[in-house]
Symmetry: C2
Subunit: 303 residues, 2 copies
Amino acid sequence: MNDKVLIVGSVAYDTIETAVGKVERALGGAATYSSVAASYYCTPCMVAVVGEDFHDGHIEYFTGCGIDLCGLQRTEGKTFQWVGKYHDDMIGRETLDTQLNVFEKFDPVLPDELKKLKYVFLANIHPGLQKRVLEQVEDPEFVLCDTMDLWINTAKEELLELLPQVDVLVINDEEVRMLTGDYNIYRAARKLIDMGVKRGMVVKRGEHGSTLVTKDEIGFAPAFPIIELVDPTGAGDSFAGAVIGYLADAGEVNTKTLRSSLIQGAAVASFTVEGFGVERLLQIDRKDIDGRIKALCELMIVE
Amino acid sequence: MNDKVLIVGSVAYDTIETAVGKVERALGGAATYSSVAASYYCTPCMVAVVGEDFHDGHIEYFTGCGIDLCGLQRTEGKTFQWVGKYHDDMIGRETLDTQLNVFEKFDPVLPDELKKLKYVFLANIHPGLQKRVLEQVEDPEFVLCDTMDLWINTAKEELLELLPQVDVLVINDEEVRMLTGDYNIYRAARKLIDMGVKRGMVVKRGEHGSTLVTKDEIGFAPAFPIIELVDPTGAGDSFAGAVIGYLADAGEVNTKTLRSSLIQGAAVASFTVEGFGVERLLQIDRKDIDGRIKALCELMIVE
């Protein structure tokens, strides 16, 4: 049982348009979504940077969720900004603007208390930054790592250097193919292991659910049925945040806890997409999550 | 318990090219795949037409599987032919040539013994033809119906006329969207029911598995993990064939049997794609299917 988990990633202001509506400068970023998600299981210690324009109210959001902010820096300049628009299918999206701002020069120095943490989630951010943070962790037991097409295209070498320190990669279908050159996720998982990843991967498949593939394990979780999808932003981040939070709290990574973590991730991510930004994710409690987990397990009953 | 099921659809000679290789004039067609699949559960009575070029050896394949051929006509002309090439992802495909041949003038007249059957699968073929066959069935208890983008585009009116006689539609994501105009399968299922479908639909999602959505039921089955996919042709047809065969044999359609039928479909379809045409599907027995069902159920165990 670990009561804390280290999460490094982006904190951002997102302007998002979907078929349902639009929000401007909503609190977002991979570290935000994943930390809020992980907060339902243990204390997330967030390592990130924000600018002078970051609202105090948003700091209060974080602390209100029980997120430890000793690793959050506030520096001169502006907070990371992302502007995106989703296609009508709520899957495809266009990035209209990205401004890394304070993340461009972010050189994280971990407070001593964070160096001792055992469960680490390298949320989606430049792999060089993920690596610099991980190097400061003294003796990590389990490292979960996310990435995206942008880094596979622009920072592949740094990503490949990072892989041998990663236990499980969380990734989507297209990214798996980009990274391994293989359309088949079972062969792709073997290739990732050849590339150094210690245990394997979790393929995030949106409405199709998620699949765990390691050297000798396969596991499967459906997505929770969502009738009114509002904003898919952060679904993958909050999925992964719930996975690391659940695993840290369980204190052991094995086939059973890994498979259960996928169901936890599916349940938490299902709330994320029901509102813009973290809006909906901030309204729930553990009982709500448990309700969806029960429903997800029932979906899979065949006997 | 029903020992027979009625299946109408195409019998064809397929020329198929995939990343793995190529076959010329392989035995195929929706009625072929679905009847072979259903034959593991009960006796499929196939309603279709073949031409003078149809090999006696292929008739023997059918009878060897225990398929009842009293509804199979042999007429002047050539057997239906399809030529297709799959993209490297083994999902997208191009139809290079389609020759309906003997199906163009096929006017099926059901032998009396087939008119009394209770479980019917309208495999993928022109909806007008599906309707003409169904009209001859005296008192069907459960009608499963497949269709494809081609008919939604070219024979939508006839398809819409057919829907009120269908209990469950088997369909893929894209076809659901084409037919209902909705990207969300849960809303789309409601629309299908508004359009007359009695119970709901099963969405076939290839490697992502399948989802049952009815008025008040959701069920879910993963796809069996396939490492060496050879030829995806007929995966959906054999999935549906196993579903109708299993349900007919069970003799009752309820949440439990419907959910189980999805797992049966996943298991049988997983063999289909391991070889070209029906090659692999003809090599297996019920024990092989049961082995994969066990493995599929284990994939879903989370506690």
